[in-house]
């Protein structure tokens, strides 16, 4: 893979990201968060394992999203700011390959982070005899949510500054978790135009709640395999769509 331009860019993006102090800070924060769950659980009456699982899953999701946003928004902008993009694009390489490489590199970082945190959470649970592998499908979907957020960050990063991209990406995260409410609003709308607007906005935004099966996993509610597969496919489809959009935007940019 490293022989292909995309692979080489992905590898370099990965190397660049793992040298970033922000990543280590976030990972340290996440591991401290997960470890502290055991201490927090001491203050409760019953439900110790539930609290550890809840905090662990929240840490995996939120820190992963923060990594995706904080590192993702600078991916393209840094190359443009340092003018390295000119050197790169002067080579026989398509702009979409450049962007896909960036995406895959950061996806590898996020995957590594998710793996480390998942291992840490399960180790913490196993040391108290509460190992629970039924959390894995939920963690898998959280990982896909992070991939979607990388795509969003990449899209905004392809035409905007890091600060604005961070704001936009975090806004998409917030809206993505609230987009289901557009359907409720639509039902209360009295005008056709209002209903159409709600419906359009609903379809234009990724519904990140579809990738949220944390409650079911923690309470061991059986989750149909079809639902997991459909949710994963939904997330991956959004990620592909957003990377394609980012590639389209990036290919039209003029760096002169």
């Amino acid at each position: 893979m490293t022989n292909s331009p995309t692979g080489a860019i992905a590898l370099n993006t990965f190397r660049e990201a793992v040298r970033d102090r922000v990543l280590y800070l976030l990972m340290f924060f996440a591991l401290a968060w997960i470890s502290s769950a055991r201490v927090v659980a001491l203050m409760t009456v019953g439900s110790e394992a539930k609290i550890v699982k809840d905090l662990g899953l929240a840490a995996i999701e939120l820190v992963g999203v923060l990594i995706a946003v904080l590192i993702g928004v600078g991916l393209v902008f840094k190359e443009i700011e340092k003018r390295t993009v000119h050197v790169l694009l002067a080579r026989p390489i398509h702009r979409w390959q450049f962007l896909l490489g960036k995406y895959l590199g950061l996806a590898a970082v996020v995957s590594l982070n998710t793996l480390v945190m998942t291992a840490c959470l399960h180790l913490l649970l196993a040391t108290h005899g509460e190992a629970d592998f039924s959390l894995l499908p939920a963690i898998g979907l959280l990982w896909i949510e992070q991939l979607v957020m990388i795509s969003v960050a990449l899209l905004f990063s392809s035409f905007s500054s890091p600060i604005l991209s961070s704001v936009f990406t975090l806004s998409v995260f917030v809206m993505g978790h609230l987009s289901w409410s557009l359907r409720l609003l639509e039902r209360r709308m009295t005008t056709t135009a209002g209903r159409l607007l709600c419906e359009t906005l609903y379809w234009l935004l990724p519904n990140l709640e579809r990738l949220n099966l944390k409650a079911e996993a923690v309470h061991r509610v059986p989750i149909p395999s079809v639902q997991i597969v459909l949710a994963a496919a939904y997330g991956i489809a959004w990620s592909v769509l957003l990377v394609a959009l980012a590639a389209a935007v990036f290919s039209r940019r003029d760096f002169t």
Partner: protein, 283 residues
Amino acid sequence: MRTLGTRVWGVCLVVAVAMIAVTSAKLDRGESRTDSWDLLYLPNGRYLAVASLGQRQVLADFIYLWAIQYYGHYDISNRYEHLDRIFREVITELDPRYFDPYWIGALIMTTETKDLERALALLDKGFVANPDQWLLPYLAGWECYHARRLDLAAGYFEKAIRVPGAPAVIRRAYAAMYEKKGDRAVSIAAWAAIESDPSVDERGHQIARRHLDSLRVEQDIETLQQAIARYAAKHGANPGSLEALVRDGALPSVPVDSDGRPYGYDRRTGKVAPASTHVLEAR
């Protein structure tokens, strides 16, 4: 000049530290938490769930943890003012399958605020959201029993029995509740079912047998007393013996207790006594 500036800054530093210490101490005294107003604006769990952006379980955990500490804070005299709202409208709305807040909240309600109705409402809500948790109706049953609401208690134990995996001991509570409220037929049927169930351990069988014996004695004595009353009304005197009831057609046969011993009968008073009392009196 530089020395003067350093001194000025030094004085400022000391004054600032002193001010922080004094104001902080005064504010701490003023903040002695004697009311629960800070809870007044805690939104309903349904709204908090929306604001949590997919982290409703963690939010429920933190509010539950806070509640555990808060309700153990004996300085706050009116801390129970929003108890029902915290447990029924916030924590359990955020995470309806969160099992512990239901029974912990209900226990606080019954032991601290003596509010059985709200405790039952919380346990009912918990059972609707967690139909696999027999402990919730079981606990509701005992709370009703302690409040001498035996009808309700029996109903809750019946709900608990129906949950797959519920322990057999709940069937004893169910049978005992009908026994206490005087519904002998249902109680005998329930104890008999326990006695004949091979999955129940020997101790359970013994307990069921003891209750069945006692209930059957009560039933026999009641039957005999009714027959004696009918006989006395017909003949103007009590029968000479219990066998006279059979001869007169008032009874198909004279019952004996589970050990095969006859019941004691006092012709003068017309009263029937259990065989054990009769034997003791004879000695």
